[in-house]
């Protein structure tokens, strides 16, 4: 149910891929929405569908081999999945922006940073080259790149990993997008640099009111940087709610397993992790019923045959699991 200031909402999105191995159900009925100035965390492991869900929302998954058996991505009164490539290009980089894990592969190594930054403004805003350059310089300064007047004329390889990620963020924010998708933006960075980048994203979100969808595998990053969280497993959201509620009262056995698997620096000595046994399923040959049941210690017969219903624990917190009981 969309709230008044919902900027973007995804309904029952399915992204399947036709492969030699059969149909891979990468995203299998995912719904989420994000509000102005809010950060939604999407957390999951490799193959959970978290990246594909966001790439699909932006029309960045090549079709074919991908196709959408169902789904709608509402933005500005339109369904992004129904737009033409031309219409999408007008929105991407302008109203909707994305930053990726590895800035080195997303920046063009042959072009000076200045060219890559000004292009966005010239294309989307019709700015003159001089105006665009001025705006780009201001943005570089704002994302914390020292000496922007000199750095703007350098090539991507002349920047360190953390600085390149700042360039990416500057590029993504130049047109002041309404929604920023950040796909593992700090995974390739050292922790002290990660702290700087997360702080930067939070500060820009506050000052510009950007809605942020933060995709990550790191529960620590989710805990510190998001308002709401959706936990994904095998292409579906298994639990979602306000970050504080999900961490304080995790309901889905997978969410609990993930939390118990994450080492913490502040647990008493000698404490052990509780690993989730087994492996994530093959998305081309999903088990019947709940895809988590082969790894779940609480699985009952019903879990082996029927996908669980979504149980609402409160107005805002829900989980898809047969073992979860709705409050009376």
């Amino acid at each position: 149910m969309p709230v008044a200031d919902t900027v973007l909402s995804v309904h029952d999105l399915r992204t399947f891929f036709r492969t030699d191995d059969g149909i891979v159900r990468a995203v299998d009925g995912v719904s989420f929405s994000v509000r102005r100035g809010e950060t939604l965390g999407i957390v999951g492991e490799s193959g959970s569908g978290k990246s594909v869900a966001c790439l699909s929302a932006l029309g960045l998954v090549p079709r074919p081999p991908a196709f959408h058996p169902s789904g709608e991505v509402r933005y500005g009164g339109r369904d992004l999945l129904a737009l033409s490539e031309r219409e999408l290009e007008h929105l991407r980089g302008n109203r909707l922006a994305m930053i990726f894990q590895d800035p080195l592969t997303s920046l063009n190594p042959y072009l000076r940073v200045s060219r890559q930054l000004t292009e966005v403004l010239e294309v989307h805003r019709g700015a003159s080259r001089a105006e665009a350059r001025r705006a780009a310089m201001t943005m570089l300064e704002r994302v914390g790149i020292p000496d922007p007047a000199r750095r703007i004329d350098q090539y991507p390889h002349q920047f360190s990993g953390g600085m390149r990620q700042r360039v990416m963020i500057a590029m993504a924010l130049l047109c002041e997008p309404e929604v920023l998708f950040a796909d593992e933006p700090t995974t390739a960075l050292d922790v002290t640099i990660q702290a700087q980048i997360l702080e930067l994203i939070a500060e820009l979100r506050h000052s510009l009111g950007t809605a942020v969808v933060l995709i990550t595998h790191d529960l620590g990053v989710v805990a510190g940087s998001t308002d709401r969280v959706a936990v994904m497993y095998a292409g579906r959201i298994v639990e979602t709610g306000p970050t504080a509620a999900v961490f304080a009262h995790p309901q889905h056995p997978y969410t609990r397993g993930l939390l118990a698997s994450t080492p913490r620096i502040d647990t008493p000595l000698g404490s052990r992790l509780e690993a989730i046994p087994g492996l994530p399923p093959d998305l081309a040959h999903l088990p019947a019923g709940c895809p988590f049941h082969p790894r779940c210690s609480q699985a009952v017969d019903r879990c082996r045959t029927e996908y669980p219903a979504v149980i609402a624990l409160s107005m805002v917190h829900s989980a898809a699991c047969w073992a979860v009981e709705a409050p009376q």
């Binding site: 492991e45 490799s46 360190s160 990993g161 953390g162 600085m163 050292d190 922790v191 002290t192 640099i193 990660q194 702290a195 700087q196 702080e199 595998h217 790191d218 529960l219 620590g220 990053v221 989710v222 805990a223 510190g224 970050t243 504080a244 961490f247 304080a248 397993g257 993930l258 939390l259 118990a260 698997s261 994450t262 080492p263 913490r264 620096i265 502040d266 000595l269 404490s271 052990r272 992790l273 509780e274 690993a275 989730i276 046994p277 492996l279 994530p280």
Partner: protein, 345 residues
């Protein structure tokens, strides 16, 4: 699997590293045709010791020299200076000069079975064209264990030790997930019953739930086999779970070394403190209330290291002295050493 320690060796550390230095020659280009040779000091005067049965964690950010230290200890890189003494044997003396280059002497080759490595990338460290059996047979064959039902049984029992189905021997690496491949890598390291294992970022390429599986496996093997381990990683929260003591490295040097609990609860070096405060906790309440020390700037290039204390360019507590003089590691409490001028007052 492990030879019993000789009676004289009981109190001697299994591994002693003294003033270890590793330098890499590099060619710097000063523009068109202007080239000069320089040296990167990747590891610069590192000292520590590891007791039998102990796990020492080596942490630091990319480029701090932690992996290079591990490789130099195993003599995969020839140290430029300093000493690595393994079970009383100075390893430097075991290299021989052949022509203009140095190679391992026969004794060092022999020692190899007692010192093994677990690598970071389970996709790159297993030969894709070899079956699991061939991968695990290789170390055994190299050290004279003939093929036959006995060797096969040994390989199958190795797989069981690392929690895999012994029937996996006929399969190829690509048929396994990252976590299972890492188990194969661990089995290979264990094949010859080594005394020392250097694990270089063994979990960082894996998913969270699989990281926990591998970490739990290493904890179990440590307890069951009495392994001595150097555990190299950037993830302080994981390192702490498996290590007895932790050494923190920055720009090729150790800045602090203490018991694992002391490092996370009572660190003294400003860099250790910042590193700990930067580790995100999977807990929104902790995250909201914590005081995070966000370091400014980035790690300087080891090609052009700062004067004085290597950390002074980012240190929130820097004084004039730090810019001029490099601090020495000093013991501030039994078993707790720190390299920082501010503790000398």
């Amino acid at each position: 699997m492990m030879p019993p320690p000789s009676p004289t060796a009981t109190n001697r550390p299994l591994l002693e590293v003294r003033d270890l230095a590793v330098r890499f020659p590099i060619t710097v280009s000063d523009g068109w045709l202007a080239r000069r040779q320089e040296e990167v000091r990747a590891v610069d005067g590192v000292s520590f010791s590891v007791q039998r049965g102990e796990t020492l964690g080596l942490v630091g950010e990319s480029g701090c020299g932690k992996s290079t230290t591990g490789r130099a200890i195993l003599q995969l890189i020839r140290p430029a200076a300093g000493e690595v003494v393994f079970d009383g044997l100075p390893l430097d003396e075991l290299w021989v000069k052949r022509g203009r280059s140095w190679t391992w002497g026969p004794k060092l080759r022999d020692l190899r079975r007692r010192m093994q490595m677990i690598f970071q990338d389970p996709f790159a460290s297993l030969n894709p064209r070899m079956t699991v059996e061939a991968i695990l047979a290789e170390p055994l064959r190299n050290f004279g264990i003939p093929s036959g039902p006995e060797r096969r049984a040994q390989i199958q029992s190795l797989l069981e030790t690392v929690g895999m189905d012994p029937r996996a021997i006929r399969r190829y690496p690509h048929e396994f997930s990252g976590g299972q491949r890492q188990r194969i890598g661990i089995a290979r390291a264990l094949a010859l019953g080594p005394d020392l294992i250097v694990a270089d970022e063994p979990i960082s390429a894996l998913d969270v739930s699989i990281q926990a599986q591998i970490l739990t496996l290493l904890q179990k093997l440590r307890a069951d086999l009495g392994l001595t381990m150097l555990f190299i990683a950037h993830d302080l929260a994981a390192v702490r779970l498996i290590s007895d003591r932790i050494a923190v490295m920055y720009l090729g040097r150790i800045v602090e070394l203490a018991d694992a609990t002391v490092i996370v609860s009572a660190a003294h070096h400003p860099y250790t403190k910042a590193l700990i405060s930067a580790v995100p906790a999977p807990d929104p309440v902790t995250e909201k209330t914590r005081q995070r020390i966000v370091l400014e700037g980035e790690v300087p290039s080891p090609l052009n290291p700062p004067s004085g204390c290597p950390f002074h360019t980012r240190c929130p507590l820097r004084e004039d002295r730090c810019i001029r003089e490099a601090p020495l590691l000093r013991e501030i409490a039994p078993g707790h050493t720190v390299a920082c001028h501010l503790l000398e007052r």
